[in-house]
Symmetry: C2
Subunit: 372 residues, 2 copies
Amino acid sequence: MAADVAPVALAPAGRARVADPGEGVGLDELALATRNHGMPLEALRYDVTPPGLHYVLTHFDIPAADPASWELRIGGAVDRPLTLRLDDLMRRPAVTTRVLLECAGNGRARLEPRPVSQPWLLEAVGTAEWTGTPLAPLLEEAGLSPAAVDVVFTGADHGVERGVEQDYARGLPLAEAVRPEALLVWAMNGQPLPPQHGAPLRLLIPGWYGMAHVKWLTRIDVLTEPFTGYQNATAYRLKVDADESGEPVTRIRPRALLAPPGWPDFMTRERFVRAGAVPLSGRAWSGRAPVTRVEVSTDGGRSWDDAVLAPADADHPFAWRAWTYAWTATPGPHEVLVRATDEQGTQPVEQEWNRQGMANNLVQRVPVTVLD
Amino acid sequence: MAADVAPVALAPAGRARVADPGEGVGLDELALATRNHGMPLEALRYDVTPPGLHYVLTHFDIPAADPASWELRIGGAVDRPLTLRLDDLMRRPAVTTRVLLECAGNGRARLEPRPVSQPWLLEAVGTAEWTGTPLAPLLEEAGLSPAAVDVVFTGADHGVERGVEQDYARGLPLAEAVRPEALLVWAMNGQPLPPQHGAPLRLLIPGWYGMAHVKWLTRIDVLTEPFTGYQNATAYRLKVDADESGEPVTRIRPRALLAPPGWPDFMTRERFVRAGAVPLSGRAWSGRAPVTRVEVSTDGGRSWDDAVLAPADADHPFAWRAWTYAWTATPGPHEVLVRATDEQGTQPVEQEWNRQGMANNLVQRVPVTVLD
């Protein structure tokens, strides 16, 4: 449907809705919640998330792709436009890297008031081993214009969002697109990409929220001016008022999550443990700077204690890191909190609200009933 | 936690809640919706659902299982209790079979009033190739008591449901457990079972709703009286009043679903197509009797027309079947319905309400806007 470099019109984009006070989740949000899926937090136990447990967000439908006939076109402000088939790409130097992805909307449904969109609680994360070929040498071969500013990645997924019909497309600043970590990826955990993760080809841009890792990638277009498509200019913005243009959503902010201890109640997901030694564990990450500290509170945030953070893995700077904490649990109700700090700051304990529910890294609160 | 053959107490089970009129989905239901996941309906295109797209429902947490040390115990009313490791089972005769699974709660969130539990719309389905060994010869080797009535399957998943702490356990009538199609399964689509599908071992009892296919299987106990555990006596019952005991949920009722045509709106999932020839397609199934007919309505149910139903596959009687329908779409709003008929009856067009939202096979309604 998209014939041009910038396939997306800005107007007449509707505004995102914010739920009324006390308003329950609607059938529209539920339809998103049941088709997209989060990572059940007990899967924090895996260094590498199995594909079916890794979070998935698809804006439109999962395209039906034939790897044998798939083509990627590289064009726009380049000297030599390229058309590449999957085989062409797989003959190039391959890199496998362990990278955490998190949806920019993670935590949205915990905000008050609640921005109406995909209603994530805290489970829109996962870490996988991705295999692909670096993007920068391909852009070099195509002959980047010295005037290049943005690189636009377009997927085969097509639909309407707030009145705008579009192929999903995201622009990246050139400096990000030519980072050595930016890959065109065809495998996940040693297997061909599953359909829902972008088969047969997606972008991987470590450190960025998930919206930037364009799936079902069909086109890469170099622009000499900033991309103004819907997903950059409208959707993924940090703004409080509907009328402001807001700041773009970019790198992943620090977060730590707790693997749920003990056993759950089916309906409330409340946790139960027995009194005594309760080892707590989980993962922490940041896409913008190295994680330096993880702290745990078992008294609802009144006091904090340092967790033991696993050493950074120099080979996988964009993976999550394990943390552990030895809790001696006393009978009664408790609320466990965990927060990460990176070189730029600490997760907030009070919400920093924005009207599209983006890049919200409010600390997790886990009610735990300790039994005698 | 479960030391006896019947590990589950009936009292003091709380009652299932029914939502008030107009009440939105709560954070408790949302927590279930974001951790469990449905099959995005465009995946109806696949004969065999990739594992990460197959629906998943876990009552409690996904257990951490070590296949190397996993043991299955077969006991109760048998002459020779058995303890089997995964290797022992994998040396036995193996069968691979294509079987549809559907959650008994599929469609629950479309009921009015809405039973409060996992809020499925219509996506709690999937068809996979399962590999395992038949159960009946194992029961024979163990020496079934002539007085055997039920066979109870217990998983490693543990939690609390309506006040009852339990290992997940389901009883099956003996006649079902010794059907040649009943398998102990260790592989899905040619790969080891993923964690969320029961690794390393689950039951497969083709034709039954998902709750019967016990995952993370650790024990099989033969009873000489009917099993009265929570998941049989309380949870999976068809009842209208809270005080009646109700009928047990057993085999899958007939259903047909439409693969969504055209393209979606992100938020509403409304469909758009261009006027003219619009091929419609989807799948139909029943676990209780062969499907005999699929019908499509493109006018909201006022008129129905036969779809073309793919021939039954004698090798895979419990898989879904493809159907197709050639629609000539005229501009304007339409509502597409599809319904399946099996040898026992047709899907209802009006809801047949029950208070736990079980085995509800109300027809699907898909609003489609046809553009000029």
